[in-house]
Amino acid sequence: MKEHRLRWHGKYTPWLFLIPTIVGLLVFKLIPIFTAFYLSFTRWNLIGTPEFVGLGNFKEALHSTHFMQTIYNTFGFSILYIIGSMVVGLFLAVLINKKMKGISFFRALIYLPVVTSSVAVGIVWNWILGPNVGLIAKLLLSIGINAPYWLGDTSLALKTVASVQVWKMSGYYMVLFLAGFQAIDYQVIEASVVDGANSFQRFFKVTFPMLGPTTFFVLSVSIIDSFKNFELIYAMTKGGPQNSTNTLVYDVYLNGFQFFRIGYASSLSMVLLLFVGIFTAINFYIKKKWAQPLY
């Protein structure tokens, strides 16, 4: 809780310090967002002036079965990604958080997928998951199991792509959690050891609650990142099979940059915005209820 303090700085000091932030906010975020909002009510292919069509784009979306599927996919992908990346990220952070010789080497290795391009990641996983000839298929075959079509089966494809994205990005969340570990007061943890707590108890009852603010931060980042799946989908499945890996971001790209339906793409992006807003609101609600400040 912030105490109510007397103003200790000049009246305009905050605004002075915030000038770059405000400029950036206005010029590169707010103005474009409102423009996109306006464009979502128009039809425009970049040539000439946008033609006002009212709710036409939204009506088209609502009547399209593909759109409903896309929403479902977006939601599913995000949930899987958020949970997966948070859990794996935290697990990795705990695993790596030890002063051992050479530990920073392994940290860098685990971080490697994060900086590897999605194109390369896509190719390699396509090869690993390939039906019949892929690495996993061959391994499973040697113990007598027929591998499923990881990327070719409409019921599996989305989960597979989301899992690859989790694999790729977990190192990033590991780093964020590690940074958070630094702020934890280890005296409290050591005290619990003396009190006889074993490692599990230590972690869940003492360490994790102190990670509250960090967890909230990582969750916020993870939510935002969960919608950034364009590159991997393009590299692996291109929205297929049968629209099962088409997400809102991918659809926005298709409509904006391939079909040049700027108005429709903008309306899709408004829906995307709504989604992200809902997830974030839920996140803030969780923070209010569960995250405890350090003091």
């Binding site: 905050p14 932030t21 860098a108 780093v175 940074a179």
Partner: protein
């Protein structure tokens, strides 16, 4: 007890090894094939790394990519752009984070909330209006559109630094006020020195995001000599064929600076910040 401790350490090490293996092998495949010829990459027989490593002209791809395809220049461009963008971000965001954490003023809550809200907006939503803004500013075909939006896109960094500064005890702040220091001095002399870990983290994040950005370089740069590394990789993928071996070589080259940066910055993130020692 010591036995337990050692056993735990061994188990931990094994798990770390397994995890690292899973994390590393695609890069390993990339590295391996960056020495390969194009025909062989997708061929049915797979050459192992040892076979490839000691062939006579093993660095052929690398030489070609750096010399003929100008990758040296592109890497410099990327370093310049991303470095500037990340530096700008850490300055702007730590200032802003400080303000939101430690200053009370009318509108601070609303402004912060607005900032967070815009954080969630994916770039595809805002890119076309942004393009028109850049056009009106006459910044097309310069580095400015690649640097300035990142420089000023403070939301994530501000958020992170605000949370971090929130946790720094107000007693530190009070000490500065009592000494009669101005807000600027308090910021520079008290808070900045403490900020090693989040600033290093933010620098890596901002640098990496800017480095890997494909959309902005693609839209804003036409002159070949201005290209960034990530954009340059696309020239290896044309409609009719992809020069996979060069693509992979280029990809390896484009990853190296990021990993170098990470290794360097790890020090600050992990071993950097520690509680200042003032406990209530």
């Amino acid at each position: 007890m010591i036995e337990n401790y050692r056993k735990n350490n061994i188990i931990r090490l094994i798990i770390i090894l397994m995890v690292s293996l899973i994390a590393v092998f695609p890069f390993f495949w990339m590295l391996q094939n960056s020495f390969n010829t194009e025909q062989n990459i997708f061929s049915k027989k797979i050459l192992g790394l040892p076979e490839l490593l000691f062939k006579k002209n093993m660095f052929e791809n690398y030489i070609m990519v750096i010399k003929d395809y100008n990758f040296g220049r592109y890497t410099l461009n990327s370093l310049f752009v991303s470095g500037l963008a990340a530096t700008g971000q850490i300055i702007v965001c730590s200032l802003a984070g400080f303000v939101f954490a430690k200053m009370n003023f009318k509108g601070s809550k609303i402004l912060f909330f607005l900032l967070l809200l815009t954080l969630m907006v994916p770039v595809q939503v805002t890119i076309i209006p942004e393009y028109y803004i850049m056009m009106k500013l006459n910044w097309l075909d310069t580095f400015l559109p690649l640097i300035v939006p990142s420089f000023l896109s403070g939301a994530l960094g501000t958020f992170m630094l605000k949370e971090y500064y929130d946790m720094i005890p107000n007693s530190l702040l009070d000490a500065g006020i009592i000494d009669g220091a101005s807000a600027g001095r308090i910021y520079f002399n008290i808070f900045v020195p403490q900020s090693g870990a989040p600033i290093a983290t933010l620098f890596i994040i901002a640098f990496m995001n800017n480095w890997n950005d494909l959309l902005r370089p693609m839209l804003y740069l036409s002159k070949e000599k201005l290209q960034t590394v990530t954009l340059a990789l696309t020239q290896f993928q044309s409609q009719y064929s992809s020069r996979w071996n060069l693509l992979l070589t280029g990809s390896v080259l484009s990853i190296l600076p990021l990993i170098a940066l990470f290794i360097f910055a790890q020090k600050y993130i992990i071993e950097g910040s520690v509680n200042s020692g003032i406990k209530g």
